[in-house]
């Protein structure tokens, strides 16, 4: 079982993610704003962050940058649909490690597959 934090202000998307990941036995933490996610991460450990590209208080990429500055290397799946976030992502991916992009719209099941693949990568790199 892994713990995944989903950061997206769209409650409907979060609800679908929770459904898909809990069905596979994972634990899901939810945040609607970056500030909420920061608070959660002070208290809880997350194996993977599922982050929307455009948040109410900041962009997804900006948030991840801040996270990395604080020394957190948690693997990230950045969810984007908009070309601008994709451009941001390409820049960010070069600069920040452990980040992959997921294109929205994405089906919950497919997303769960991506999450598990990303968790696997992390697991393998930890073992080596």
């Amino acid at each position: 079982m892994s713990t995944i934090l989903v950061l997206d202000d769209d409650r409907i998307f979060r609800r679908l993610v929770v459904e898909a990941l809990e069905q596979r036995g994972h634990r899901v933490l939810q945040a609607g704003r970056a500030a909420e996610a920061d608070l959660l991460l002070e208290e809880e450990h997350a194996d993977l962050l599922l982050v929307d590209g455009l948040l109410p208080d900041i962009t997804g990429v900006q948030w991840i940058e801040k996270l990395r500055e604080r020394g957190r290397q948690t693997r990230v799946l950045l969810i984007t649909s908009f070309w601008k976030s994709m451009r941001d992502f390409t820049i960010a991916a070069r600069k920040l490690g452990s980040i992959e992009m997921v294109r929205k719209p994405v089906e919950a099941d497919e997303l769960a597959n991506r999450v598990e693949a990303a968790l696997d990568v992390r697991g393998r790199s930890r073992r080596t």
């Binding site: 409907i12 998307f13 459904e19 109410p56 649909s81 908009f82 719209p105």
Partner: protein, 269 residues
């Protein structure tokens, strides 16, 4: 959009249509669509005028807005049906309503209308409704009206798609519908405020969130419009964004109603 136009072409004859509508914008939209198909359009601005025109003119079909001053569309329809009683005449009447609720539908049919359309008027649905009520009217093979209608419905809410998303779980469907009913008015409000204050960043974020939820719920049209608004915020095109907003608000309303119906939430109300 060429498909929906197909069913508007009268293969046999041109129609004489009474358009009972008090809103000048809606009147113009409907009249333009109908006249382009070669139909003759008479206009009434309230139910009383509609009744008077129906009394003296030979009509093929009446498009009747249900909400009009002086005499509403329901009352005017009932009066027309009364007038026709015993004459063997029965002009087909299509109700036009802003609220495509089961209650409105029942009222339309109870008043003596033959079918109904929901606003905003779209060409495909308008022509399909006319084809539906005019007996023996041939249908264009390229775009048969029933398919066109269901296509329009699928554009609002792809029910099969959404049922697949929730894997057939009715409880989850209901929960998502409730979230949308709670959150979408808030997002629309944020968008309106952002438009008023010219705050493009806020506009983009609210449109982005709404696009996410509508696309998760398989609300195709709403998702497309939200995406367009998100892009317009990026290019800072305020006039286009304003136009896009009203279309989006309409479409979100339709999606809300479709979700309520699909989730069976109207039963308990």
């Amino acid at each position: 959009m060429t498909g929906p136009g197909g069913s508007g072409v009268a293969p046999g004859r041109r129609l004489r249509i009474l358009l009972a509508e008090d809103n000048p914008v809606n009147e113009r939209v409907a009249r333009t669509l109908l006249e382009k198909q070669g139909h003759t359009v008479l206009v009434a601005h309230n139910g009383r005028e509609a009744l008077a025109v129906a009394e003296r003119e030979q009509l093929d079909v009446i498009l009747m807005d249900v909400q009009m001053p002086e005499m509403d569309g329901f009352a005017a329809t009932a009066a027309i049906r009364e007038m026709e009683a015993g004459t063997g005449r029965r002009v087909p009447i299509v109700g036009v309503t802003a609220h495509a609720t089961p209650r409105d539908r029942r009222l339309c049919l109870a008043a003596g209308m033959d079918t109904y359309l929901s606003k905003p008027i779209r060409p495909g649905m308008l022509f399909a409704a006319i084809d539906e009520v005019i007996p023996g009217r041939e249908r264009a093979p390229a775009a048969p009206p029933p398919a066109d209608r269901s296509l329009a419905a699928v554009e609002v809410l792809d029910e099969a798609g959404l049922l697949a998303v929730v894997s057939g779980h009715r409880d989850l469907l209901r929960e998502l519908a409730e979230l949308f009913l709670e959150d979408s008015p808030q997002r629309l409000l944020e968008i309106r405020k952002a438009l008023d204050s010219g705050n493009f960043a806020a506009l983009q974020r609210a449109a982005h969130t709404l696009k996410g939820s509508t696309s998760s719920l398989c609300g195709k049209r709403a998702a497309e419009l939200a995406l367009r608004l998100e892009e317009l915020a990026d290019t800072r095109d305020l006039p286009a964004a304003r136009l896009s907003y009203s279309a989006l608000a309409d479409e979100v309303g339709k999606l809300q109603r479709a979700l309520v119906l699909l989730a069976g939430m109207n039963d308990s109300r």
